[in-house]
Amino acid sequence: MTADLTEVPSGRGVEPRPPVRREPPEEHPKLPLRDRLTRLDVKFTPYLFIAPFFVLFAVIGLFPLLYTGYVSLFDWELGGDEHPFVGLGNYTALLADDQFWNALFNTVSIFVLSSVPQMITAVLLAALLNTALRARTAWRMGVLLPYVASLVALAIIFSNLFGKQYGLINTFLEGVGLSPVDWQGNWFASHVAIATMVNWRWTGYNALIVLAAMQAIPREVHEAALVDGAGAVRRFVSITLPLLRPTIIFVVITSTIGGLQIFTEPKLFDPAGGSGGGFSHQYQTVVLYLYQAGFQDFDLGYASAMAWILFLVVLVIAAANFFLTRRIASTGESE
């Protein structure tokens, strides 16, 4: 009668035992189908919702990226009957290729000529737009207009303006007694011309991003500085700039990525219409050379190697920019 009780100890002083999991799990009492579906729903639906991005990214982002790396190891001519494996041959050939270094130099030169003035103008423009202007919204919309206009139309109009013999800019220069500039032939002039197109398009866009960040700066900080007797310039340098830092870093990095991949402007700037970037490649950028190698010479292996080197260059320069901007924007104050 009490045997059962002694066999199953219970009560005070007895260690509670966790309930024994019954094996195998199939013996688990079956949940209704509807409940099981609900469980699956809760578990997997979130993944399903974010899947489109990752599936698309895998198909049109990650796969090409990796496949480009694979192709770059072969002597892969488009339409060729066989693709012999050359290992790192394309990379060593590329590093010994004068035209590639020239293209890299042009890219960096155009990038510097466009990004530096563009960032400075964008911040100053944002500061202007942040003041109490009449018809503020109209001004703010206005700076975005160049961004809305078609890039191709823009490039064609600018190429006309920068025409050597009949271009408006040279006509103007001659009109005020200066000598005309060979916007096509001279490498520096051609870089300035292309950088002008980039600046025209992107300055307003970046100014708006900076403006948004500027408006997020708490008014109290400015007021406190005002009470302490800080002038407008001092407040801009000591308050606005440091607090804009994250935004400026963002803008600099996106413009680095975009600037190092510049293609349409130099492509359309060439009156001969090719991908050479001028008659002696004086403004051929890396992407333009990549396009020429891949789709004019059909040397896909070489073009792929170039794409990977460019990828690494963008990474390195973006990282360098990140640290540089962090230093500059913090104006030496420690946090």
Binding site: L78, G79, G80, S159, N160, G163, K164, Q165, Y166, G167, D182, Q184, G185, P271, A272, G273, G274, G276, G278, F279, S280, F295, Q296, D297, F298
Partner: protein, 430 residues
């Protein structure tokens, strides 16, 4: 429950849409036969071939054939598509048009195209076309393209500028000037001395290309070997043109650029190498205000030449090569080519078409009512035998040498530019 069922509905709709779009995609690319059992032939052309009325006519005469036209605006895009799909191994049309400038590159992949001597109608032989035209589409005995149009070269010139420089300006009188390249450049010197700021020709590349294409051997020799650095004729042409540039004879305008267009309006140069299709370009760019000032003559320095024109090929990818070849043969028959010429001005390459009254009676009001049809038919017979071309011939001409000559025009030394050209050619041919 209602919200869940609507979600399933969405998923179902998405799946259906995906399936539908996949179905659309496949029906477009895998041609062959239509639902009602007709043979479907696709014809891919670019720019204007003048086939809009001809294709329905062919369908009417061949009730079992349905023709689908695929037209691309720019020749560049058309050929890039062509080469990509040759590489992909599928997706080409049954008939693919190929422009003369891209022909060497196509010939280097001649094994991807049908030999029309084997699959084409037996009565269509290469002698239907001008000999040089058919020769240029033949490689190792395989004849891969039926000729459509050509661009025989003549000389266009500004009468008013010739008169101002004291040169003869009537079509017969200028023939002595356009007899040889030496006489041409000598007259240019005389012209420069009288007029000062006007140039003799538009761009060095436009003259140089015509000169090189007249040589027996250009960039490649008959065994497909690049001879850019050893061909004395090439170097001599280069020297003559660059010497003329040094004397200010070039207007330094890149052909087909905006500045070049403006150059026509501003009368920046006095002569222009003129293939038949260039007359339309001159008329459009110089505009009505310069009507009657431009003239054309049936003379070209050192003989004749050709710039432009196309071929119809039948890629091996075609599922109905015999039927495609039959259609291509019909489209390029003299009678049809004359209709295309009447529609879009594509100058015929067929021997018999060159005697057609519709061609010979054609005049141009803009060029002082000259009988331009007869004039260019005459020029077509002066074109020398086809020059051997290599796979990179087109790139070497358009990208390498034209750039090098532009560099000379912009102040690079002649020797540096020559070095740039030779190295560029070797790289392009690699």
């Amino acid at each position: 429950m209602p919200y869940r069922s609507s979600r399933w509905a969405i998923a179902l709709a998405c799946t259906a849409a995906l399936a539908a779009s996949a179905a659309c995609g496949s029906s477009g690319s895998s041609g062959g036969t239509t639902a009602d059992g007709k043979i479907e032939l696709t014809v891919a052309t670019f720019n204007e071939f003048g086939y809009e009325d001809l294709l329905p006519e062919y369908e009417k005469a061949h009730p079992n054939v349905k023709v689908v036209a695929r037209k691309t605006g720019k020749a560049d895009d058309h050929h890039q598509n062509l080469f990509t799909k040759i590489a992909a191994g599928s997706g080409l049309s049954d008939i693919e048009a190929v422009e003369e400038g891209y022909l060497p590159q196509v010939l280097s992949k001649a094994d991807k195209f049908n030999n029309l001597l084997e699959i084409g109608p037996a009565d269509v032989k290469p002698d239907r076309w001008l000999a040089w035209k058919s020769e240029s589409a033949t490689k190792n005995g395989s004849f891969i393209g039926y000729g459509t149009d050509i661009g025989p070269l003549a000389m266009c010139y500004r009468k008013d500028l010739f008169e101002a420089a004291g040169l003869p300006s009537d079509p017969a009188g200028v023939k002595a000037i356009f007899a040889t390249w030496d006489s041409y450049f000598a007259a240019g010197e005389q012209f420069k001395a009288k007029t000062g700021d006007k140039a003799w020709f538009d761009s060095a590349a436009q003259v140089f290309n015509a000169m090189v294409n007249q040589e027996k051997v250009g960039y490649y020799d008959a065994s497909d070997k690049l001879v850019v650095d050893t061909n004395p004729d090439l170097k001599s042409d280069w020297d003559k043109v660059t010497a003329a540039v040094a004397k200010g004879q070039s207007a330094k305008l890149v052909a087909f650029s905006n500045e070049w267009n403006t150059g026509f309006k501003n009368a920046a140069f006095a002569t222009k190498t003129c293939p038949s299709w260039m007359l339309g370009v001159v008329e459009k760019q110089a505009g009505p205000e310069n009507a009657g000032k431009w003239a054309v003559t049936d003379a070209f320095p050192d003989g004749g030449g050709n710039w432009g024109g196309s071929f119809l090929t039948v890629p091996k990818q075609s599922k109905h090569p015999k039927e495609a070849a039959e259609l291509a043969a019909w489209l390029t028959a003299p009678e049809q080519q004359i209709k295309a010429f009447t529609a879009k001005g594509t100058f015929p390459s067929q021997v018999q078409a060159l005697t057609s009254p519709a061609l010979l009676d054609q005049t141009s009001a803009y060029f002082g009512d000259t009988k331009v049809g007869a004039l260019f038919a005459e020029q077509a017979k002066k074109v020398p035998a086809a020059q051997p071309k290599g796979p990179a011939s087109g790139t070497i001409q358009d990208k390498v040498f034209n750039s090098a000559l532009q560099a000379v025009e912009q102040g690079t030394s002649v020797d540096d530019a020559w070095k740039q050209a030779v190295e560029g050619a070797q790289k392009a041919a690699k």
